[in-house]
């Protein structure tokens, strides 16, 4: 049953078979995409018609490869930009929130913490639509009262950033907060008794202790943003992010260039995962 206990061979064989099937189930769609990205065909599925790099580099009447497709490249770029700003803002505010909830005592702390966790149990759709409603209301109000048109409050790049930030910050708070629980507070007391101010303590002692988890949280926030669709679709303006662009292509005009993009995403993620694995193992 467990490592230290002996168990019957059929049981173990059956268990291993199940695990293998599970991993096949997991990898099957990814392998399929990666193989078909190199299919020399104008349709997204089988049959296999030979190896080709057309869907990466071609620019002919019926084939437009990934690296020649300006719209697609633009949406990838928009996704990177969005991910960067979401990660930046949510790391700042999420870390602040972790420090606040782990180290400060104040009235209504429980209620505020509950609110900070709320994005975990609010469907992404509801977050997106409520922010869309609020920002539109605010935009209309400002325009009617002051006669100013504020770009930020209409569906646009920055509204997407704001919408994704609203829940990414919660994840940063939890990741950094988990690390902060292991912090030895006598270090801070020592610094305080040596006349450091509270801010100096946070900046010189707490933050360096948290550095690895802050970097980790930054990457997680980036990835959350990079793959988000449900919230983004309500807030997106004229420049779609990659998931929004992929969605409309899958729905309305699928060509094998979708396989090529998906291949790039799969390759990029897999490579970074393996790199982080090797890096962490060497360090540990």
């Amino acid at each position: 049953m467990i490592r230290t206990l002996p168990c019957s061979l059929p049981y173990l064989a059956g268990y291993r078979l199940y695990i293998s099937l599970f991993y096949i189930f997991l990898i099957l769609p990814l392998i399929t995409i990666c193989v078909l990205a190199f299919n020399d065909s104008n349709y997204i599925a089988l049959p296999w018609k030979g190896f080709s790099l057309d869907w990466f580099f071609a620019n002919t009447d019926d084939r437009l490869g990934l690296f020649k497709d300006a719209d697609l490249l633009l949406s990838i770029w928009v996704s990177f930009k969005t991910g960067f700003f979401v990660a930046l803002f949510s790391t700042l505010v999420g870390t602040t929130a972790a420090l606040l909830f782990e180290q400060e005592q104040f009235r209504f702390k429980g209620a505020l913490y509950f609110l900070a966790l709320a994005p975990l149990v609010i469907p992404g759709v509801v977050l997106g639509l409520s922010i869309l409603l609020s920002s539109t209301n605010a935009g209309v109000y400002i325009e009617e009262t002051f006669g100013m048109d504020i770009e930020l409050l209409r569906p646009s790049f920055w509204l997407v950033v704001i919408g994704q930030f609203s829940f990414a910050a919660t994840y940063v708070m939890l990741l950094v907060g988990a690390r902060l629980k292991k912090f030895d507070r006598t270090l801070e007391e020592a610094a305080l008794s040596l006349r450091a101010t509270r801010l100096q303590v946070i900046w010189l002692i707490t933050i360096p202790f948290l550095r690895a988890s802050i970097i980790g949280a930054f990457i997680v926030a980036f990835l959350i943003s990079f793959s988000n669709f449900n919230t983004t679709i309500f807030l997106v303006g004229s420049d779609p992010t990659l998931p929004v662009d992929l969605y409309s292509r899958i729905k309305f005009s699928s060509t094998p260039v979708l396989n090529a993009v998906s291949f790039m995403v799969v390759a990029f993620i897999t490579l970074s995962a393996i790199l982080s694995f090797v890096f962490n193992r060497n360090k540990g």
Binding site: V125, S130, N137, R198, L199, N230, L258, I274
Partner: protein, 283 residues
């Protein structure tokens, strides 16, 4: 800076975040859901946005179906992934375990759009699975798998189940193996050990994983919309339609509010039944 000053430096951004992006938008949504634009263009208070939901059968039927399916997929995710979580923490050699766990994270970070698209290629009439089955002579004509409740369920399960493994693994990790050894020495069967020791010990992990899976599934749009057929409507699809196709924002707000009430109620019941707290789900 004084201690008091630093405290404000910490609390002000957090309050701004929560007030401006969580509290006010949701109050706005609630307010809008009770507003109605009359024929002469005036805005009045009304319950009509909610009446639409109860009077039109398709809306509340979809609502009920979404709830039932979400619970079903969550249970299915538990059944499928629990043996994997147990295997990775307790059975397989430690040196393999971390690499196998890493493999589980890859589909999560690749993102739903790409993996759902992969399933679409696999399940099409001329897709990989049908072609394979026809080539080995098991079937003569393609089985219709795409655009059914089946394909939708596969998609929902695939994109959500891995979020359940991680919390269950951390619960299992902290469980002392000697508990199982002791039970086994005293002659307990595998089933008894599983039911009386492993499951109670893993309950916190199962609850937080289950809530994450449930929230992902009930709020999902991509898998039902791309993999589901005409018959597999999802409640989020109706919200999207209200906003982005018929531009009836007031009704959309009412529907969004109903979805929020539905998901919060089910999560609350799940927390009560398992004796957990929301604060625990995050950790």
């Amino acid at each position: 800076m004084s201690k008091r000053g630093t405290f404000y430096l910490l609390i002000v951004p957090v309050i701004l975040w929560l007030a401006v992006l969580i509290v006010i938008p949701h109050m706005d949504m609630m307010y809008r859901s009770f507003r109605l634009e009359t024929d002469d263009g005036a805005m009045v208070y009304s319950l009509s946005n909610y009446l639409v939901f109860f009077q039109d059968q398709i809306y509340w039927l979809t609502f009920v179906k979404t709830a039932v399916y979400s619970i079903g997929v969550t249970v299915l995710a538990f059944i499928v992934t629990f043996p994997v979580a147990f295997y990775l923490t307790k059975v397989v050699k430690v040196s393999y375990s971390s690499f196998m766990t890493l493999l589980l994270l890859i589909p999560i970070w690749i993102g739903e759009l790409v993996t759902v698209y992969g399933w679409m290629i696999l399940l099409r009439d001329n897709g990989v699975i049908n072609t394979f089955l026809m080539n080995i002579g098991l079937i003569d004509s393609p089985i219709e798998m795409l655009f059914t409740n089946f394909s939708m369920t596969i998609g929902l399960l695939y994109m959500s189940m891995l979020f359940m493994i991680i919390p269950m693994m951390s619960a299992l990790d902290s469980m002392d193996d000697s508990l199982i050894e002791a039970a086994s020495d005293l002659g307990a069967s595998k089933w008894t050990i599983f039911r009386q020791i492993v499951i109670p010990y893993t309950t916190p992990g199962i609850t937080s994983g289950g809530i994450i899976v449930f929230m992902l599934v009930i709020g999902d749009y991509v898998a039902p919309n791309i993999l589901g057929g005409k018959s597999s409507l999802w409640f989020t699809e109706q919200i999207y339609n209200k906003f982005l196709e018929s531009f009836n924002w007031n009704e959309g707000a009412a529907f969004g509010f109903l979805l929020l009430v539905l998901s919060s109620t089910i999560v609350w019941v799940a927390l009560k039944l398992s004796g957990q707290k929301l604060e625990k789900v995050g950790s």
